[in-house]
């Protein structure tokens, strides 16, 4: 008798069974919300083009508590996305600039410093120095 193998089925909630799977899912979700936030910014440009009243109405909407909470969640996920990618950059080095691979913690630190530096420069440009 040839018995049939029992097929494997991925269980629901598989990503909750391992903290690293959860971290991966959050990183992916961060990528999706980055795109969503891009749409919000595009809409802002559309409202700006439509005129002052449309733009003011858009800003008023963005200042409402629900939108502030949405922005807070989006910001958190985008930060998680960026930081978790920085942690991975050092773990995959297809091009080696040095004889030995750069330790992932060093690659992470360099990326983090560069990111904070660029973010600081953008804030300075927008707000004229805080």
């Amino acid at each position: 008798m040839t018995a049939r193998p029992y097929p494997w089925k991925r269980p629901r909630g598989w990503w909750l069974r391992n903290p690293r799977y959860l971290s991966f899912q959050l990183r992916e979700a961060g990528g999706v919300v980055s795109a969503l936030y891009g749409l919000i910014l595009l809409n802002m440009l559309l409202q700006l083009r439509a005129g002052e009243s449309a733009y003011t109405a858009f800003l008023d909407t963005m200042r409402t508590p629900p939108m502030l909470y949405v922005n807070l969640v989006l910001f958190g996920l985008v930060v998680f996305h960026a930081v978790s990618w920085f942690m991975l950059i050092g773990k995959a080095q297809p091009i080696r600039f040095t004889e030995k691979p750069i330790p992932w913690k060093s690659a992470f630190a360099v990326n983090l410093v560069l990111w904070l530096g660029v973010s600081g420069a953008v804030v300075y440009l927008i707000f004229g120095g805080l």
């Binding site: 193998p5 029992y6 598989w14 391992n18 690293r20 799977y21 991966f24 773990k91 995959a92 091009i95």
Partner: protein, 248 residues
């Protein structure tokens, strides 16, 4: 001195009578120097000879004894009971594979994927076979890490992409492809990258990284997959921009 007991909760599937897998519990004595494989062998030798599992070398070389221990893919010969049990050790067959019987899973799909990346040295002309192909230490160092793969399949069990898309070539096959691509004696890089630059190839990998976490030999398949993405992109661009040179 076996002065303590531990409960082994082992997934059973007997295809001749079970419609689906279920757990069976065994209480066994254990010592600090016993690994999970010792526990399984104790059960088989003294309690239940029908329990079925694979093993061979008992020293982390053959890659036969992989199973999920408390939810984590492990070589049972290298996992001490004292390190994993909190009264109960749960042993499941490796995830992402069909179960043949108890802890024995069907590897045929993996073997087909492995064959598709030509895991051997490819040369158009072998030349004079009485002469050796000299390699310097740095030549060996280039592929040594990937050459440590023992085909234990823990990386496939850990990879959620394999679970979502069974067609994905997977971590170990990719790591072994890179092992031969990096071998200075090999000339099969183009054929392998052609295979890997497909819908079921390296681009399915979303870099979860769990394959490298569970690898008992530090092969780093996740890193190998990212390197292969780079090599596949370079090959594609070369063919696009310099078709004459690429065809040579």
């Amino acid at each position: 001195m076996a002065d303590r007991d531990v409960v082994f909760r082992v997934k059973r599937y007997r295809p001749e009578k079970d419609s689906k897998p279920s757990y069976q519990r065994y209480r066994i004595p254990y010592r600090d120097d016993m690994v999970v494989l010792d526990g399984l062998n104790y059960i088989k030798d003294t309690m239940d000879p029908t329990l079925t599992f694979r093993w061979s070398c008992r020293m982390g070389i053959c890659g036969s004894c992989g199973a999920n221990v408390n939810g984590q893919p492990k070589l049972t010969c290298g996992t001490y009971i004292r390190d994993v049990h909190r009264g109960v050790v749960t042993v499941d067959p490796l995830t992402n594979f069909p179960i043949i019987k108890d802890l024995v899973v069907d590897f045929d799909d993996f073997l087909n994927k492995l064959a598709s990346v030509k895991p051997y040295i490819v040369r158009e002309d072998w030349g004079d076979l009485t002469k050796e192909y000299v390699q310097y230490p740095e030549d060996i160092e280039a592929y040594k890490q990937q050459s440590m793969c023992i085909n234990c399949m823990l990386c496939y069990a850990a990879c959620p992409v394999v679970g979502a898309n069974p067609h994905f070539v997977g971590p170990a096959a990719a790591a072994l492809a890179l092992r031969y691509i990096r071998d200075s004696r090999d000339e099969g890089a183009d054929a392998r990258l052609e295979r890997l630059n497909t819908k079921s190839g390296v681009w399915e990998c979303t870099f979860v990284g769990e394959c490298s976490v569970v690898c008992p030999k530090d092969v780093d398949p996740a890193g190998a997959l990212q390197t292969l993405k780079f090599l596949a992109t370079m090959r594609h661009m070369k063919r696009l921009l310099m078709p004459k040179m690429a065809s040579r």
